[in-house]
Each structure stands twice: as structure tokens, then as C-alpha cells.
């Protein structure tokens, strides 16, 4: 018996006034899978990730995650259900330290609220302890070593990308959406990222990766979905996609007439 699917996107459409950014997009992600999402600029990849993470609501269509319908749910609830993401343009908490940034990612696993804070209850203390441990572990996992007090805004770009990744991971998601994680990375950093992606998968986390760096996508992903003009264009293993006529045409434009 096949395992139940983790994420089932069915005919999702997103309209902005007259502009159709996503048109009946469908895809399926299995638990623990590494799925690539590629397409020319403007294909709707980031819009899809925004819809999946709840930052935007779909105009129509269905999104089922771990059996539950999540289309149109607010972002914070989707995050608590187990989908985390990184942003194409980094969205860190610039004034906080790296550790605190990651700690925010663990927010959903704590319960202490106002009363606990004011009375410094045992629960508050225990949870803070746990949060700091988990956060340190996440930073170590992604390979980020920074001095405690440095504000996130002062870190190098590559470090900031890893930080966002750690923040997403610490929340123990079942699905992690990465929006161009390799942007601006040199080959060494890219290699490190590749290894990281594999280790994340080894932890049982499924990944949906938007990328323009084809070498990374082809190496890392088991299945790739291709979008163009907001619609599904192709889907398959890396080798198939690389040889796919429509995909090549979409990226390079019209095939020249002889």
C-alpha cells in the first residue's frame, strides 16, 4: 500500500485583478521527497510558494496537507501545521541575534504566555531552556557559527541565508519550502547547501525547492515540476526534464526557424 501523499495541490488558481499568476496548477509531494520547482522568470513559482505557505490565498483550487485542506488558511496556522519556508528576498529579524532569530522559529512548540512570563513559572523556564537548546542545535546543523551578540542584519549574506534555513528547520516542519536558497552563493557554499539538503531529507523533512541554478536542482531533486506562464508545463525526473522539448523551448524562447 502506498504511503499517503504529504502535499496534494489540485487545480490552484491565483488571480490578481485581471492578472492570472497561477492557472490550474497541480502537483503532488510525497513524504520525505525532494521536489524541484523551476520555470522561467514570471512563471509563478514564488506565487505558488506564497499560496502554499498561506501568505496569499488561492482564488480557487484545493491544497491538502497531511490529509487536511489548507487552502486559504492564514500563514501562522499553516506554519503550525508543519509547513515552513524561506524567502527569496531574505526576511530575517535584523535587530535580533542569530540565536533569537532561530528561537522565533520554535515559537509554535512553546506555550508560555503572558502569565507565565510575568510569574516566571517553571513552564516558562523549561520552555526557554528547550528553545535555546533546539536553536543551538539547528544553527549547528546548518553549519552556522556566529558570536552570540551579533545582530542578524550584520551577518554576511551567505550566513543570513543559512540562518533563515535554520529558522525554518527548528520548527520541525514536515515540508520545507525553499525559495532560491542558492541565490548569490559561490560554488563552495552551493556544495555545502547540497549536502545540507540531503541531511534535511535524512531527517524526514520533505523539500520543495525553487531554484534557477540548474546544477543544484538536477543534483538534489528526485522529481521536478516545471511551470510556465502560471501553468504546469512538465513534470518528471531530472534527466527527463533536461531533455524535454517544451522545457528547453520555454527557457530559450521559440526554436529558430531553419
Amino acid at each position: 500500500m502506498a504511503e499517503p501523499v504529504l502535499l496534494a495541490v489540485q487545480a490552484v488558481t491565483k488571480r490578481f485583478g485581471g492578472l492570472v499568476a497561477l492557472d490550474q496548477v497541480s502537483l503532488v509531494v510525497e513524504p520525505g521527497e525532494i521536489r524541484g520547482l523551476i520555470g522561467p522568470n514570471g512563471a509563478g513559482k514564488t506565487t505558488l510558494v506564497n499560496v502554499l505557505s498561506g501568505v496569499l490565498s488561492p482564488t480557487s483550487g484545493s491544497i491538502r496537507f497531511a490529509g487536511a485542506e489548507i487552502a486559504g488558511q492564514p500563514a501562522h496556522r499553516i506554519a503550525l501545521l508543519g509547513i515552513r519556508r524561506t524567502f527569496q528576498t531574505l526576511r530575517l529579524f535584523a535587530e535580533m541575534s542569530a540565536l533569537d532569530n532561530v528561537a522565533v522559529g520554535y515559537h509554535g512548540h512553546q506555550r508560555a504566555e503572558v502569565a507565565d512570563a510575568l510569574l516566571k513559572t517553571g513552564r516558562a523556564r523549561r520552555e526557554e531552556q528547550e528553545t535555546l537548546e533546539q536553536s543551538r542545535e539547528a544553527l549547528a546543523f546548518v553549519g552556522l557559527t556566529v558570536s552570540a551578540g551579533t545582530p542578524a542584519g550584520a551577518l554576511a549574506y551567505g550566513q543570513q541565508r543559512l540562518l533563515e534555513l535554520a529558522r525554518g528547520l527548528v520548527g520541525r516542519p514536515r515540508l520545507l519550502l525553499l525559495d532560491e536558497p542558492a541565490a548569490g552563493m559561490n560554488p563552495a557554499e552551493c556544495d555545502h547547501l547540497l549536502g545540507l539538503i540531503r541531511r534535511i531529507q535524512a531527517r524526514g523533512v520533505a523539500l520543495l525547492i525553487i531554484e534557477h541554478r540548474m546544477d543544484l536542482i538536477m543534483e538534489a531533486c528526485e522529481q521536478i515540476t516545471v511551470l510556465n506562464y502560471g501553468r504546469n508545463l512538465a513534470e518528471g525526473a531530472p534527466a527527463e526534464i533536461q531533455a524535454h522539448k517544451d522545457v528547453i523551448e520555454a527557457y530559450l524562447g521559440q526554436t529558430r526557424r531553419a
Partner: protein, 328 residues
């Protein structure tokens, strides 16, 4: 180490603050100090709202007035004991804040104007519902505060009650901002969209801060009612909301201590510069603009800037009077 030094600083401050009324027992002075403490509590609440939750609330006088009138009505019309009425003022104000929950969805400009409108509405109720608040005539003969058998009917005695409220509010907020709750607020303030994708619901947090800020404002209002013995709707208008905002700004956004410092500075400036009536407000307006240009640090920026300016002058003078070597 820094820790030892700051602990010592607190002890010194604590002693100074406790013996103040013994050293300077003049009634007028103590009354101004009492007012400063009341506004200190008010400003702390608004600081949490503006500096931490990022909610530019310009209707804070609504909570202040609600607390004041609630406590006054409970004691003068319903014979409720003062201690209970005092807490009642805070509670009713915080209940009122719950009605603001829907507007926490709004951003920047829209939120500010919505809170402005809220303040106007509450003020209109206080002004017009004479059966409840005596309307424009004001409420009179409000009994003084008491703690059990001890009647706090002098500025001297009142000082310690106000001091307790302000101090407790300050330390409570300090704990709050350094907790998971405070971290969530910071996350919302620094990048709301990212905070949401980490599982934080901004509406819930902003609403909670409104309730907390309203509670402390209500307590401050109750204190004022029992200190003054008389309430007038004119004391709780948009102008008053701006006053409190100025205290927060002067002390520096995002600083709890700054809120109290700002309150003390502004209350004292108001009282002792009364003679310069019109010019006073002009100076305030100009100072507000200037402080915003300095980046929201408030008066804390002043020593830093003076130091930097002094260094510039010193360097220029040195260059002028001591020609560089190898000259001529």
C-alpha cells in the same frame, strides 16, 4: 563587571526614590512628582504598544479616562471601596481594549486614525452621558486612595502608592519583554510577514498588548481620579493622547526606562514652564520633530550627539592651532 555596576545603580536609585519625599517634602513639588509617576505608568503602557508592538496608538487617553471615571463612579455613586474601585478602573479599561481587537489588522496610518477615532468616541461618551459621568460639569468629591485603614490623603502618602504602581509596572514589563511573548512582539515589529510564517498570529499578540496597555492606563487613571478628587472630560482628549505619546518619544522609542524618564521630564517641564505657556507647546512641537530626526532614541541621543559634536570641535581646534608636522 557591568552586572555589578548596574546592580549598584539600581540600589542607589531605589534608595534615592524611597527617601525623596523626606528630603523634599514641599506639597507642590510632591504633587508634581505624583503626577509624573502617574504619567510614568501611562507612558509605560503606551511604550509597550508603540515601541514593542509597533501600534501607533493616538487614542490612549480613552483608556486613561475610562479608568479614571470608572473608579470615580464606583466610589462616589456605588459606594465601592476604593481599593476595589482602583482595580476596577484597570479592568474596565482592559475590557474596553478588547473591542479594539478588529483594528489590529490595520497597518500604520489606518491604525493610527482608527485609534484617534476611538479616542474621540470615548471622549464623546464621557462628555455627553451626564447621568453617568456628570458630563461637562465633571465629577467631584472623589474620595482619596486608601490601603486598608491607611488613608492616602496627602501627596506624601500618595507618592508611595504611585511609586509602587509605576515600579511594579516597570518590572512586570521588563519580564514580559524578555520572555517568549516579548520575542514574538519583537518578531512582529521587525518583520511581520516572517513572524507569521513562524507560527505567530499578529492579531492575537497586538490585541493582548492593547489589553495590557489599557489595564495599566486604567490604573493610572484611577490613581489620578483619587489624587485629584475631581475629574473633567477635557482632561481626556486627543491632546492628552498626544501628550503621552510625546513622553514615549522623548524618552526614546523601545525603552521602558525612557518612557518613565520622558514622563518625568515632560510633567516637570509642563509645570515649571507654565509661565511660557504658548512658547512651551511650540518648543514641544519642534522638539518632537527634532527627536524623530535623531532616530527615535529620544533624549538618550542627546549626550551621544553632544559628545560627538564636542569631539568634532576639539579635532578642528587641534588642527587649527597645532599645524601638522613637516610644514614650512
Amino acid at each position: 563587571m557591568g552586572g555589578r555596576r548596574s546592580a549598584l545603580g539600581w540600589v542607589v536609585l531605589g534608595i534615592a526614590v524611597l527617601v525623596l519625599p523626606w528630603i523634599l517634602p514641599q506639597r507642590y513639588f510632591l504633587r508634581v512628582v505624583d503626577l509624573a509617576l502617574i504619567y510614568g505608568t501611562l507612558a509605560l503602557g503606551l511604550q509597550l504598544l508603540v515601541g514593542w508592538a509597533g501600534q501607533l496608538s493616538i487614542g490612549h487617553a480613552a483608556f486613561y479616562g475610562t479608568g479614571a471615571y470608572t473608579s470615580a463612579i464606583l466610589t462616589t455613586k456605588l459606594g465601592v471601596p476604593v481599593e476595589a474601585a482602583f482595580v476596577g478602573g484597570g479592568l474596565v479599561a482592559s475590557l474596553l481594549a478588547l473591542t479594539l481587537m478588529p483594528i489590529t489588522r490595520l497597518r500604520g496610518n489606518e491604525l493610527a486614525v482608527a485609534t484617534l477615532g476611538f479616542g474621540v468616541i470615548i471622549h464623546a461618551v464621557i462628555l455627553n452621558e451626564e447621568w453617568l459621568t456628570e458630563g461637562p460639569f465633571g465629577m467631584m468629591r472623589i474620595p482619596p486612595l486608601r490601603v486598608g485603614p491607611l488613608l492616602l490623603n496627602t501627596e506624601f502618602r500618595f507618592y508611595y502608592a504611585a511609586l509602587a504602581v509605576t515600579a511594579i509596572t516597570y518590572f512586570a514589563f521588563r519580564r514580559l519583554t524578555r520572555s517568549r511573548f516579548g520575542r514574538a512582539l519583537e518578531a512582529i515589529r521587525q518583520n511581520e510577514e516572517a513572524a507569521r510564517t513562524c507560527g505567530i498570529n499578529p492579531v492575537v499578540y497586538k490585541s493582548k498588548v492593547f489589553v495590557i496597555a489599557a489595564f495599566t492606563a486604567g490604573l493610572a487613571g484611577s490613581l489620578f481620579a483619587h489624587l485629584n478628587g475631581y475629574l473633567n472630560p477635557n482632561d481626556f482628549t486627543f491632546v492628552e493622547s498626544i501628550n503621552v505619546l510625546m513622553m514615549v518619544v522623548v524618552g526614546g522609542l523601545h525603552s521602558l526606562g525612557g518612557a518613565v524618564v520622558g514622563a518625568v521630564l515632560l510633567v516637570f517641564a509642563s509645570e515649571y514652564l507654565r509661565a511660557l505657556r504658548e512658547y512651551r507647546m511650540i518648543v514641544f512641537g519642534a522638539v518632537l520633530i527634532l527627536l524623530m530626526a535623531l532616530g527615535g532614541e529620544g533624549v538618550r541621543a542627546v549626550p551621544r550627539l553632544l559628545l560627538a559634536a564636542a569631539r568634532q570641535v576639539f579635532r578642528a581646534a587641534r588642527h587649527r592651532w597645532a599645524p601638522p608636522p613637516g610644514d614650512g
